[in-house]
Assembly symmetry: C2
Homo-oligomer: 302 residues x 2
């Protein structure tokens, strides 16, 4: 999926390893029961196994590497945030939200199953995420596990991702300006990306100053991703994206591209990339892969 | 709401105190923001403030009282499970699930707002619950907070409440027998009731044997509640219930009443009440209010 990374062999290798591990971990966590609720497990597995860029787990891993976090801890925190991400995609794709039939090149959960099953699959994944984080296998120190739960709760709920989706649902009538679109992105997609990077720092007992630096990097990264998404939605190919494109414009929603123009948005993303990289400077060469991620965010073609 | 408790003044007094505290706590936790996502907060407040029997927080409080748990700890765990309960009501009421217009005598969230807002409000409450539990104010020992999160995640997800709702959605075609209906109840409503009672024990570092006794009591209590619900659905009055009744029969779903007959179901509930009380015997007079709850479960008229 990350074809553009031939110039970044470490990142491509790591992602390939990570995609395999995430699939294995979801598979182990969600065995199909021989019971009448098996349909629910099939729907959850459909949404979590065998697809996705696994960007959020990658960010946990790279951030955690700065502070010598064990792979087991980082992978479990990555699994939790990936579960929340899958939850949000299932619910956002529903007919009463974005009404999408295609996700990652496959039918969305409510198309492959039905709406009720999709709602319950999303709910189950949200509950699962917090259980994974609070499990002693995630970190031996319960205070750290609790902090992960508190911060992910904030990032995914009404004050974070769900609040962002609420604004997005109203965005056509709200006629958002640049500040409004930025706030929408910060909540809807930025909060989980920022949590992923913070999770590595929390697991590694990073200092407040280092957490702050990574939060500044995360704020830039989230915006770069959204601008790139808007550019792909404007110019991309549906086959590569694996989902419907051009839908924001069709819905009359404001985006970074509609507000800044394609060239203006691209320039803004390049400025943000330079700023993101500058926030990583104090970490030296160890943060090279986090720089690569920010660059990938801008140059990806899907 | 608990009119039938004039013979149990302590329980009525405690419930009245609890209803007021839950409303205050949800109000404090969910201030209306001056922001475009305010609609989401209004929907969550509609679903959580000013209604409900607050049975689950009551169970946390009564169970916690056996082990000298502070009121602050019990109320916060009670708030968390009440948030999950409200989440499940919002989602279960949706058109693609039970399609209900009335809840607690008021319009359901998707009727008062819209479907997308209802889905996001339910999601937000689920995330909120885990954040409340993991917050240091819930208990000074992070290991206890983490255990509460792990157990509530299990009780509310695919292996618990959400799995039960999945079976319920399929129950007309499944043609469940008594074992099937019992398993459905154990997951759909029993898991959260059992968690509420276990939460008091976890907060109070109860011994395994005492946790087991309370779990046995909880299993009986859950069944008593469901049988009483089925009886009310069969014989009750919509005005008192504050929701549509007779819908299970209309949908062709098997219930304890359809499988055992009204009198058979009533007898079974009386047997379960005696068993529930017997599991509380080792706790002596201190567990009197938990006995009262089991009796109330059977004799309530809504």
């Amino acid at each position: 999926m990350l074809e553009a990374t031939e110039s970044r062999p470490d990142l491509a290798l790591l992602r390939s390893h990570l995609c395999a591990r995430m699939d294995e971990m979801f598979d182990a966590l969600l065995p199909l029961p021989d019971a009448p609720q098996a349909r629910l497990y099939r729907a959850i597995r459909h949404a979590t196994i065998g697809g996705g860029k696994r960007l959020r787990p990658l960010l946990v891993l790279l951030s955690g590497n700065l502070f010598r976090v064990t792979e087991e801890s980082a992978l479990r925190a990555g699994l939790a945030v990936e579960a929340i991400h899958a939850h949000s995609l299932i619910h956002d794709d529903l007919p009463c939200m974005d009404d999408d039939d295609l996700r990652r090149g496959r039918p969305t959960v409510h198309r492959a199953f039905d709406e009720a099953t999709a709602i319950l699959a999303g709910d189950s994944l949200l509950a699962l995420a917090f259980g994974v984080l609070a499990d002693p296998r995630t970190h031996p120190d319960a205070a750290i596990r609790s902090e992960l739960v508190v911060t992910l709760s904030r990032a995914s709920g009404a004050g974070g991702m769900a609040g962002g989706q609420m604004i997005d649902m109203r965005s056509t009538s709200l006629e958002l300006d640049l500040a409004g679109v930025t706030q929408l992105q910060r909540l809807k997609t930025g909060a989980l990306l920022a949590w992923s990077i913070d999770a590595g720092a929390i697991l590694g007992r990073a200092s407040d100053v280092n957490r702050r630096r990574l939060a500044d990097y995360a704020a830039c990264l989230g915006l770069i991703f959204q601008i790139a998404d808007d550019l792909l939605d404007h110019e991309g190919e549906e086959a590569k994206a694996g989902k419907r494109i051009g839908k924001d414009a069709a819905a009359g929603k404001q985006t970074f591209v509609s507000l800044l123009g394609a060239e203006g948005a691209r320039q803004q993303a390049r400025r943000l990339l330079a700023e993101a990289v500058s926030h990583l400077a104090p970490f030296g060469a160890e943060a090279a892969l986090l720089s690569d991620v920010a660059e990938f965010a801008l140059t990806r073609d899907h």
